[in-house]
Structure formats: structure tokens, C-alpha cells
Symmetry: C2
Subunit: 342 residues, 2 copies
């Protein structure tokens, strides 16, 4: 019988669950309209019900390797407890891992959602041809994940990959982490909206002002729509995003010399608007990139094909391929990796 | 019989060679007054003679595991050739590795000198209790090395660990790498002298001006001597060094979550003058450091003892212990690691 695993993405407003076989073939994907704000026990009940249903369904046709859950927060590697999770109030210091294992009677692995997304892109996405990669997820904040030798690199206490809090400007915009000028304050969806509001406040952009006043949910997506319509103020904002990403990536490329850096998360749909500035900064700022840049500097599909053909000798910066499924599929990958963490 | 290896440090004005056994016990250390400017063949002759002499001497008492050579430049991992080495003119594109193996008839491993220094501190120095560590060497430039799982992490093409060229200030001082505001332009010996000359030029520091005019070889060491005598202008320069290191380390700690970051190289002898600023920046800028900082924030000897007792759960930033022997001993370590690279 084939082996399969179940991945859970607890990251957003929806709870999503997928069953995949060990080759990465999707067996089934379930999206539950679970309201995370209804609380921990409610979410765990719904999750365990849906998982039990899947387990019962595939019982006779495949062997369950385990369950992986991507969680928006820092996980204590020793206990499997959430240490901190602003998006999951009431979950911290609760033995999530033990409780779910107890209910389901099977092996459960928790992982930070950005790490799970990196693992998903490594398994089935933009980095599937390499063993080592880094990923930046541009969402409400900027998350990061690092995969070394095909596995998530956790660092000493499970906190590695916090690329969103690399300092780009020592005296820059204050960040909620306590520092200033972090990548996150220039390259997240929150940052795009803040920069747009700053431009509006300065009175120079009637187009942005009109978009903001006509849309009660003024978002990074609205700014992006203006940018693709050619609005210069909106385009400038995404050039700032790209510039910040380029500076951070230059430091990462110099430090890690990895074959692939994948940019995902909601803001990455604006790739066309911000990526030229990334490559401008990289070429200027990273001696390692200069020595290893692909001939096709835009480094997208062509570069992926190149890696497949030659093995990794070029530094590829590219957008994620799996969209919002990266974290879900990465979570499903975890039970297949031998590392038994708890 | 015990196994031993021979390490070579080709980094400075002297050529240094050491024989160590597999436990790291020093058998013999030789310093040759070889003038690197006399050229490649001259240096290789002198090196091979000295190594042959050592091999003959220990032939009957120990088994030679191999020879490791630390070289100031980028090594092509596939061919063992130097790709680029400003301090070794005439060596690039020459098959150094093959030539030395041919002459000595034994296994030779080349390594970048900053990587070798990191491996030395991991084996016998400040990071001897952990498997994963990073090192910054503050010399003429700022070099870096990364050790993962007890071995040098080379990255895709052998260029990982270029921490000296992380961007700290996008619009900052131009760097010879082509970027601006790199760590190297604020934390190298060259940077200390440049900052001192800037202060002198501004006319505000009679003490620095007098030191510079009375000493034809005005160096970082002269500035440090003024700093330890309490000269406030000199002290300010080292606070700038520490601040730059702290900002860079905050990004590294957030990205890697390693147990130990070791600061070595000549400028690290000014540790007392610059390290307080490192910890100030780290506490403010790194959420990972804040979660894992040792109780004793100065993080020096006490911290090392703590790692020994508890295993790595705290982030230690500390000065190197081996001084200029780090690269030499690290080079000798390489033949003992199973990885056979060429």
C-alpha cells in the first residue's frame, strides 16, 4: 500500500487540511470555515473531526505516515508547545501537540507556518530541484524559512529563519519586534498599506487617496491594482518593497550561498511590480550573487529549467509556485522526513 | 599509532605550519619567514619543504591523516583552484591543490582562511562545546565562516559566510565590493583607521591627530591604545564598531539561531572597547536574541561554562580564544573530517 500523510494549515482565517501521498500527489483537500476566534477547543475539535474523517476514508487503501500541522507561531522544540502566537490567542503554553496526538492516536508534528511553507516549496514548488533553500513569505508580516539538506533548519531553539527582522536601516521605521528598519516594515502587506497612507497624507497622490477613501478595506491588493494600471505613486511603493527585499536578499546570499531563494505570501502576487528592484540591488550589493547570477537575470522559469539541467551552480531568486498551498503541502511533508523531533 | 595532520596558514605575511594529533594536541608549530611577495613558486617550494620535513620526522610515530591549507581567497570547490585572491597575486587559476598533492604524494585539502578559522574555534576554541557556530574575523577586511554539524558550511559554490558584506546602511560608506554600508566598512581594522582619519580631518580630536602624526604606521592598534587610555574620541570609534557588529549579529541571530557567534581577528583584541555596544544593539534588535540571551548578558567565560553544563539553549556572542592560531588549527582539523571534497 502507498503511504500518505495529512497536512494542516492553521495559518489563516480558514482551517485547511490535505492528504498527500509520499510522491506529493494530492489525494484530497478540505477547507473548513472554522472561525479561529471561536477559540482553541472549538478549532481543535473541528480539526480532529476532519482528520478522523480522512483517516477513516483512506484506512483500507493507504498507510498513514503521520500528521503535520503548520502553526503561526514559535514552537518549543522540546515540548511541542506554542511559545508565542499573536494570531492564536489562548493557544500559547497549551500542549497542542500532546492533545492532538492523544485524540487521534497517531504521530503529530507541529511546525511554524513559514517553515512549513519553505518545506512545501522545496518539496513540490519552486525549489523542488535543490536540497538547500530559503523562503520569504510576504504577508501581514514577513516570515522566513530555511531548508538545509531537504529538512527544515530549526537552529538551536526552533527560531531560525526570522528574515523579516533583519535590520535594513538602523534608524528606520519602528517595528513591533522592538527594533527599527526591519525588512518587515518595508516588504509586508502592512508596510505597503502604511507607505500608501504616508503618500496619501503628504497630499501628492489623488489616485491613492481616492482608492483609499472609496474602499473601506484599503489593502496592499488595492495598491497593487493601481500599480498595474500604471499609477506611478503605487508603482513607487512596490519599488520600495523590491529595494528592501533586494538589500535583505543580498545579505542572505552573501551569508548562505544557497541555490534558491523563494518569495511567497500574498504580496508576492505583485512580483512583476517589485522584482526588478530586487535584482538591481542584488547585482550591486552581493559579490556572491555577482559571481553566481544566472545568465537570464530575471531568473524565473528559465532559471528553474537550468537548475534541473546543470545542478545548482547559479543563485536563483524566484516567486513561489504553490501559492497558499505551500504551507499546507509542507505540513504534509513533515511526517515523511525521518527526523522525529519530540 | 595515533593519527595526526598538518595544517598550513597561508594568510599573513608569515607562512605557518602546525602538526596536531586527532585530539587537537599540538605536536609542533613552525613559523617560516617566507615572503609571499616573492611569488607562488617560492612559497610552494618553502611550504612543501617544511611539510616534508615534518612528515619525515613523525613517520615512525604517527599516521598522517592529510594536510589542510587555509588560503586567503575563494576556492573553487570542484577543482581546488583559487578563484580570486587579492593577497596572493599569481595564484588564481593555478591548480594549487593538484600541485601540492603531486609534490607531497598525500591528501591535501584547501579551505578559505576565514572558514578555517571558524573550524579552529569550533574544534579547540570558544565554540568547542557546540556543533553549529558562526565566526566573524575582524582584520584588514571582515571575513566570516559558518560551521554546521561540525563541518564548514560551504553553500552552493563555496562562497557562504561572507558576513563582512551584509548591508547595514543602504546609503552608507562605499565598500570595495561595489556595495555601500557593508559591515566591513564599519568593523575592520581599515574601517577603524578610516573613521579615525575622518575624526582627525574634522579637527575635533587633538589626541588622535597627534597619534597619527607621530606614528607613520597609524593603525587600529594605535586607536585602541588611545581608547584604553580613556580618550573619548577613540572610544567613540570602537562604539561605532560595536554598534555595526551588533546590527549585523542581530540579523544573523534572527536568521540562523545558532548557539555561538565568535568574534576573532586582530580587531577583536579591542573586545572590551566595542563589545558593550554589540549587546546593546542585540537586545534591542533581535527577538531571537531576546528570547535566548544568557542571564549573564556579557556572555563571556560564564556563558561558555553554561553551554558545557546545559547544552546549547542560549545565544552566546563571544571573542575568539585561539588568536592567530584559529586558522592554523582549523586547517589541521580538515583532514580529520570525513568529507572528501575533491
Amino acid at each position: 500500500m502507498t503511504h500518505y500523510s495529512i497536512g494542516v494549515d492553521l495559518g489563516g482565517t480558514n482551517l485547511r487540511i490535505a492528504a498527500l501521498d509520499e510522491k506529493g500527489q494530492l489525494l484530497e483537500k478540505v477547507t473548513l470555515g472554522v472561525q479561529v476566534f471561536l477559540g482553541r477547543d472549538h478549532v481543535i475539535d473541528a480539526m480532529c473531526d476532519a482528520i478522523s474523517h480522512l483517516i477513516a476514508k483512506y484506512k483500507d487503501s493507504a498507510i498513514l505516515a503521520g500528521i503535520g500541522i503548520g502553526v503561526p507561531g514559535i514552537i518549543d522544540m522540546k515540548t511541542g508547545m506554542l511559545r508565542e502566537s499573536p494570531n492564536l490567542p489562548g493557544w500559547a503554553e497549551f500542549p497542542v501537540h500532546a492533545e492532538i496526538e492523544r485524540r487521534l492516536g497517531t504521530r503529530v508534528i507541529l511546525e511554524n507556518d513559514a517553515n512549513a511553507a519553505a518545506l512545501g516549496e522545496k518539496w513540490l514548488g519552486a525549489a523542488r530541484h535543490v536540497q538547500d533553500m530559503a523562503m520569504l513569505t510576504l504577508g501581514t508580516g514577513v516570515g522566513g524559512g530555511l531548508v538545509i539538506g531537504g529538512k527544515v533548519w530549526h537552529g538551536m531553539t526552533g527560531m531560525a529563519g526570522e528574515f523579516g527582522h533583519m535590520t535594513l536601516d538602523a534608524e528606520g521605521v519602528p517595528c513591533k519586534c522592538g527594533s527599527r528598519g526591519c525588512l518587515e516594515v518595508y516588504a509586508s502587506a502592512t508596510a505597503v498599506v502604511r507607505m500608501a497612507r504616508e503618500v496619501i497624507a503628504s497630499g501628492v497622490s489623488p489616485s491613492l487617496a481616492s482608492a483609499a477613501s472609496s474602499d473601506p478595506e484599503f489593502s496592499a491588493k488595492v495598491v497593487y491594482n493601481l500599480a498595474i494600471q500604471g499609477d506611478e505613486d503605487a508603482r513607487k511603493i512596490f519599488r520600495r518593497v523590491g529595494r528592501a527585499l533586494g538589500i535583505a536578499l543580498a545579505s542572505l546570499v552573501n551569508a548562505f550561498n544557497l541555490p534558491i531563494y523563494v518569495i511567497g505570501g500574498g504580496v508576492s502576487s505583485a512580483w512583476d511590480a517589485f522584482s526588478p528592484a530586487i535584482f538591481e540591488e542584488l547585482r550591486q550589493r552581493s559579490l556572491v550573487y555577482a559571481a553566481t547570477a544566472p545568465a537570464d537575470i530575471a531568473g524565473d522559469q528559465g532559471a528553474s529549467a537550468q537548475v534541473e539541467a546543470e545542478g545548482p551552480t547559479r543563485t536563483i531568486i524566484t516567486r513561489a509556485l504553490l501559492g497558499s498551498d505551500a504551507g499546507l503541502f509542507g505540513a504534509a511533508r513533515m511526517p515523511f522526513l525521518v527526523e522525529n523531533r519530540y
